[in-house]
Structure formats: C-alpha cells, structure tokens
Symmetry: C2
Subunit: 488 residues, 2 copies
C-alpha cells in the first residue's frame, strides 16, 4: 500500500561489526547503506562492545517486504559486517495473537464459583429454557459478534485459506472492541463450500447477536449472505460490501457538498462489479443517485452485453439507462464522479482530465489505486483512496464498529438498506460544515464521535423499522432485578 | 445440590412496610419470618424511611429456587408488608454474560492500526501461507480452546438446548482463564445431529489448539469424540468423561493410601455406565485395577446379560471376570470401593455397611448422591461426593484447566490415556503425605499448585509420547525474532 517507508514495515537488524575489517567509520557506513537503499534508520543501538567487535541493532523503516530484504542485503554488503537476527515490529506485535478472553466476574472463593458455575448457574440455564430471549440479558449474546471468513479473499491477497486469514480476523475483533466495545470472535472456516459455510454459521449462531462476514470472495459472498439473512434472526453484514458502501456514500455526500452538486443529478462511473461494487451501487441508488454507469474488466456493463453473467443482470437493469457501450475510458469524459473498486493503474491523470469540472475521484483499489491519487488531484477537485498516507482515506473502520454497536444496542434481528443509509448519513455529518473541505470529506478513524454517532443513527433506524427484538418482554429490568417474585 | 442455605441462592427481597399496620416490631418479624421458613438473613438494609412507611431490602440465603419462593411468601404473609422487586445475586452476576474479549495490543494511532490491521497484517498472513504451523506463534491459536456443546445434557438438568447451555459454557470459559490462563470460547451448537456436530467442529477447528466437549449426552458423545480425534490434529477432550475420570482416579489413589490397600488388589463396584462411568473404567484399568464390576439401571453388567447394548459389550468384556449377575446390592458386599456416577438415593448406609472393612465410597451423582454421604461415613472410611458443603469434593475444576494448560504448552496434537493417567497421578501428589487423611484426599480447587502441577505432568507425557507439534520447525524464536534475514 505504502510507497514511502512506513513504521508498519519497521525491522530491526542485528549486525556484528568486525572493527579490524570495517574500520572506525563502520557505524556511519551502516546508516549510509540503509539510506542509499531508500530506507530510514529510526534507531541504532550498540548492544555489545569489545575492542575489535560491535554488536549493533539497526532499526529501520522499509516500504515493503521486498525492500526490507534489500536493506538487509545492503547492510550485509558493508565490509566487516555480519548479519544476525532480523526482527520485525509487526511480527512482534502479533506474537501470541492479538485478542484474549477474560472473565468479567471475580472467581475468588467457593461462593463465587457456586454462582458463576455449578450449582448456581443451573438456575440461569433453567430461566433461559423458560425465556430464551433472556439470553440477551443473562449471557454474552447481547454484545457478541462472530467475524466469519473462509479465507477465500484475504485483504487484496486472494485465496489464502483459513489459517492465514486468522491474523486479519483477530485484528478486526480487536478493532470491534477498541472502537465500539463489542466482543468479537474470529471464526475461520476450513471449507469454501457455500452450503457448508451457511450451515456452520447457522449452527454456531446461538451465541452471537450479529454475524460479520469478512474476506469471502464474490459471487459466493452474495449467496452466503442472502441465505444467512433468510435463516437467522440476527443481522448478517458482509463488511467488504456494506462497510465499504457506507463509507463511500458518506464520503460522496460530503464531496458533493464541496463541489456544489446534487446526488440525483451527477453522472457516476463505477469501476468494478464485484462484492464492493455491487454494494456501493445499492446504497447509491437507494440514496437517490440516478445516473450510474458501471464497468468491469470486460468493459462497460449494459443489458445487451454478450455473455453477461447472471449476477450482473440486475446491475445492468438498474444502470446505464442510455445503453452505452465500450470501455471505461469511453464513458469517463464528462462524468462528475469516478468510484473505483477494481484494479491498479487502469487510469491516468489525463483520463481524469476528461471528467466534468469539479470532478470527484475515489480510487479505492488496494494496495495500488486505479489512478495515482497525486496525478488525479491535478485534475479532480476531490480525491479519495484507501491509502493511509494521503488525505481522505476510505477506511471501513469508520463504519463497521458503529453499525454493529447500533444493531446490538437495538437488539436488531436484521439489517436493511435504510440502516446502511442512516449509517452513511450519520458518518457524513460527523464532519461539520466548518471542517468540510476537499481534503477532509471523512473524519479520522480516531475521531471520538464516529462510532457513537453512527451507532445512534443505526439504532434509531432499527427502532423505526420495527426490527428490534423485544429483549425484555417479561418486564425484567436491565439492572437484573425482577418485578415479580415468581421469576426468582 | 445443597440442602443447607447457600450464598448461591442468595436473594434480595425489597419489602414495603406500612408501620400503621405492621407496628413497631415489623423489622424483627421480617427476620423471624425468614428464619422460621429455614432461611438465613444475611443483610437487612432500610433504603427509604417515612413516618409511616419503611422500604427494606432483605437479603437472605435459601436452599434452592423453591425455598427462595417460600421465603418470599413468608415475608408477604407478615402483616403490613408488601413485596416489591426480588433480585438475586446469581442472576446479577450473570448480567451481560461472564466473559469478554479484549485486544492484547494497543490501538492508539495510525501506526498501531497499520501494524495490527492493514497493511502490516498482510505480511503476517503471507508468512502463515508459507508456514501454517506458525499459527501457534503469530495468532491466538496457541492458547485458545473451544468449549463445545449441543446442550443435550446440561449439568444434571437434561436436554435443554444450545441457548440454556451458554451460561454453563461461559462459566467454563471463565474457569479456564482463572485457573490456567487459557482463552476459551463457548460454541453452543443449534443441532443435536452427530454428523452435523462433528462437521461443524472440524470446520471451526483452525482457530483452536484444543476442543473441550461439554455436556453432550451419551452415547452420542462417544462417537463425536472418536470421530473428532480421528480427523483433527488437536486434542479433543470430553470433560464430563475424562475430567471426571482424572479426578476420580486421583482421589482413589489417595483414598487407597489412607486405607492401606493397593489398586490391583481392591474389588471395585462401579454404578453407572454412561459417559462418566465408561471413562472412569478406562483410567481405572489403565492404572492397574483388575477387579471391577459395573452395574447400571438394568443391574449388574455381564457378558451374558440379555439385551446388552453395543456400547456395553466392550465394558462387559473388561469387567466382572467371574460373571456375577443380579443388582447393585448383590455385588456390594465385601467390595473395597464403590464409585457411583448414576442416580440419587439408590443405596443406604446399611448397604455401605456390607462392604469390606476400610471401605471407600465415592457417591458422585449430582445434585443428590447415590447414598447420603453422612450416612455412608458411618460405615466407610473414606467418603467423597460432588457436594461443595462436605469434604472430598470431586470437582472437574481440579483437572481440566491443568490438563489443557499442559496440552497447549506442549503443542500436543492428541490426548492419550497416558496423559490422563499422568494428570491423575500429579493431582493426587498435590496432597502431601503430611496432609493426607480421610477428609482430604483431593486438594482444594483454589490450591495454588493444582493447575501447574497437572500441566507439567501432562506436558511431560506429551513430550514422552512424541505427540508434540513441532511448532517452531524453522528455528524461529519464541521472542518473535528470526534467525535468518530471508524470513522477514
């Protein structure tokens, strides 16, 4: 993702320097070797010293894995230097995993034991037989979300499988707690069969109040989500689709304010008709967009395109009313908005120059955008990307924590397009009119109001829709007391 | 389980007292009403007072749910008293569930984000593609156990289903952390079909380093465990079977020291041939017992018993060499050891009196033992039960935390009878010769050495068996560093 040295690629290289060979200027030559290879030395610690030997830990930032290897080689090439261990901050932070499970209740003595486990727990179990909805009061269900993947589309890396997906799912679970106080647990499935995935999620669902599908490849993700939504009484949300769509719509609402245009009037070109593209189209149309043309690797999508796949038929019917044909570059001239969730480097700054005045460009392909954001900014008024080192980062962390917080708070048994729109509008409104400008169309992920604002809007949408589970139907109080002695 | 008032049944009853009706002695009459109904007032707080009204929170210990209702009725019968809310310490401690999931890593800024999530996490995912065994180093797998149930045999309560089982599984997860530092997560399955249970556990297994099956009814539990052990490369342990068996064997080892007898010589009568009975038999025989007679609700089990079910055939072949017939009472006379994991009140003190001198009686049916432990103690030298209000409580908490700690520390891919025996012997040895007596054959569950001692013995058994996964095959260091720069 980053083309400049980044702390996420920070490595520490232990080197042994033989001063008899390297001479007195050895240390400065180490720094120079790193810098000449494009790295940045961020720390240099001499950890052992003898008359003729030094052991030095050189910490440096690299642009990527390959570059880290180059820096190591550059140090190895310095005369009199031997490379020892190479360690890595990112790997170090992953040691032992990134989440843990803790008791919320003290277990100090036999009395504590007899309340949280046998015999006391038996009464809680029996109460749940009487009223299963009380699981949202007396168990972890109320606040617990499954982060489910089959590892078929891990980040931008492809089909890596269940185990390699786990660090990503753990990270997601950590973000759920950090940004929304939600207990999320990773479920990495050792299958990529749609029927098995659906059935497994159905069978483990009792513990959870929501399902976050993650990194499941299209078009399988569509069927999995559709079937789970039909069979489960808790919301099912594919973050790669709907999380992205919410942030894109929020960013677009604010970008159009910057350029003074209205969503129903603008001409939008959408590049990419996979999981994210489909979901973005849904929220754009639901929010009032009327002029969208989509394209994929086979060109502009229209109803008469030969060999149109079944998933694309409904998309074709809802877009490109004029039936335009050709490739992406053919429909870009005059467009007000470009949204790319497709492939790297498919457009140049010159292509962006053909767009209408006050163009908005969201180039979201990861790690390399559809068009270089810096080149795009020479011709477009507002540019956003997935990159953390540029303004206007479109980051799902802006959406999913608040969305689930709102769904859980309202004990929703479903998720609807109205809830997604409410989330997007709330996220857009976190940026105040005073703050809004072409370089600040979405708030920082660390903005303290993001999750709570999105959550409140989603909760309200749930209540307005009547989708809230009546979780306290018997009048039991949220403080754990009961109005009737018979319910002891 | 308890026949005396217990804090696990502590309730707080809010009463309004109309002093015009109740008169000045109202408060003492409240206490008397509780005591005359067999309860104990543990606190009495006046929470509001007016000239003619008092609001009082009466906290009292009851023996069970029914008794708590009686106490409430007794207070309601006091003249001038109106009952308000009734709350309950056990229910209060369950509010919102008993476990939570927390990040182990700080997420303070963009740099933290870029290491634990994108883009940094991508490198960890790719490293796991190269070497999946590194999941035990770079993810939560190493320390994570699934607590899996289908809710078919919840405590002694029967087939309650997935949701009512959840408080028990959460409690178990809390105990795993409290006693062994293990991250355990409850999986409550919405099916009781053996094939579906097996397949689901197989599919979610990548995240876990061990599977703890819990509260699954016999004989289904046997097949589920057998099939999962065959298909998974992590240990699968049914606590209701093997946890119980370990603690029983440990207790028996020490009980026989007290009475001065040897395991190979003693005559053992085992009542109950369900999940626990089968597992107890396995460890008894593996530990050297030679004379065991088992009985179930259809009487003494022998090879020629009409209608012997298929599960019981191997049991019959390994017990009752003399082919004795009849009912439990027929084989008890002269026996040295009685172990009951069957049904309440099937024996009396007089039956125990027929046993050999220095008899050992483990009456483990829950909540009501096979024989009243107090009556049994008049005739037997050593008596143990599942009851927390009597000496020698046979409690699985003595086994499962240490067993899994040992399995995880040694990265075991299986669990064998040798590991169970090692756990039992280690647990027995926590009681020192100086401490050992008829009322102290097992340590307290809060004894600080229990889990670590059991864990060390199990880890050693794993290493001795060669079942340890080579989790650092490439020489990567447990401190997260790598010996070779190419592994960055």
């Amino acid at each position: 993702m980053a083309s400049v040295p980044s702390i996420s690629y920070s490595i520490t290289i232990r080197v042994d320097v033989d001063l008899r060979v390297a001479g007195g200027s050895a240390v400065s030559r180490l720094t120079r070797a790193v810098e000449e290879s494009g790295g940045v030395v961020t720390a240099l610690d001499v950890t052992a010293s003898e008359q003729e030997h030094l052991r030095i830990d050189v910490t440096c930032a690299a642009t990527d894995t390959e570059h880290a290897g180059l820096l190591t080689e550059a140090l190895a090439a310095v005369e009199g230097v031997t490379i020892g261990k190479v360690s890595d901050r990112t790997f170090l932070v992953h040691l032992g995993g990134k989440i843990e499970i803790n008791p919320k209740v003290p277990i100090r003595n036999r009395d504590d034991l007899s309340m949280i486990y046998t015999p006391g727990v038996a009464r809680v179990s029996l109460a749940l037989v009487e009223n299963p909805d009380d699981a949202r009061r007396l168990t972890i269900k109320r606040n617990t979300v499954a982060v489910v993947t089959d590892g078929s589309a891990v980040l931008g890396l492809g089909n890596l499988g269940a185990i390699p997906a786990l660090p990503v799912m753990e990270g997601k679970a950590a973000l759920f707690k950090r940004f929304a106080g939600i207990d999320a647990f990773p479920i990495c499935l050792d299958t990529q069969d749609v029927d098995e995935i659906v059935r497994t999620v159905e069978l483990i669902a009792p513990v959870f109040a929501g399902i976050n599908l993650e990194d499941i490849s299209a078009p399988r993700c569509f069927e999995i989500e559709r079937r789970l939504r039909a069979s489960l009484d808790i919301p099912v949300f594919h973050d790669d689709q709907h999380g992205t769509a919410i942030v894109v719509l929020a960013a677009l609402i604010n970008a159009l304010k910057v350029v003074g245009k209205d969503l129903p009037e603008v001409r939008i070109v959408l590049s990419g008709a996979g999981a994210a593209g489909m979901a973005i189209l849904d929220v754009l149309l639901a929010a009032g967009a009327r002029h969208v043309i989509a394209s994929d690797k086979d060109g502009v999508i229209h109803r008469a395109r030969p060999g149109l796949s079944p998933e694309l038929v409904p998309l074709a019917e809802r877009t490109n009313a004029d039936g335009r044909t050709g490739v992406l570059r053919d429909v870009l001239p005059g467009a007000d908005v470009f949204i790319g969730v497709s492939a790297p480097n498919i457009l140049t700054g010159d292509d962006i120059a053909t767009m209408a005045a006050g163009a908005v460009v969201f180039a979201l392909a990861n790690p390399v955008p559809e068009v270089d954001p810096v080149a795009a900014a020479e011709h477009a008024t507002v540019v956003a990307s997935g990159r953390s080192d540029l303004p206007n980062q479109i980051n799902n962390v802006l959406a999913f924590p608040g969305v689930f917080r709102g769904l859980l708070d309202a004990a929703s048994h479903t998720i609807t397009i109205e809830m997604l729109l409410a989330a997007a509008r709330a996220l857009a409104h976190v940026v105040t009119p005073d703050e809004l400008n072409a370089a600040y169309i979405v708030p920082s992920v660390f903005h303290p109001d993001v999750a709570s604002t999105v959550a409140a809007a989603v909760s309200k949408a749930v209540r307005d829709s009547g989708s809230s589970v009546a979780s306290f139907p018997d009048g039991a109080q949220p403080d754990g007391t009961f109005p009737e002695p018979t319910q002891v």
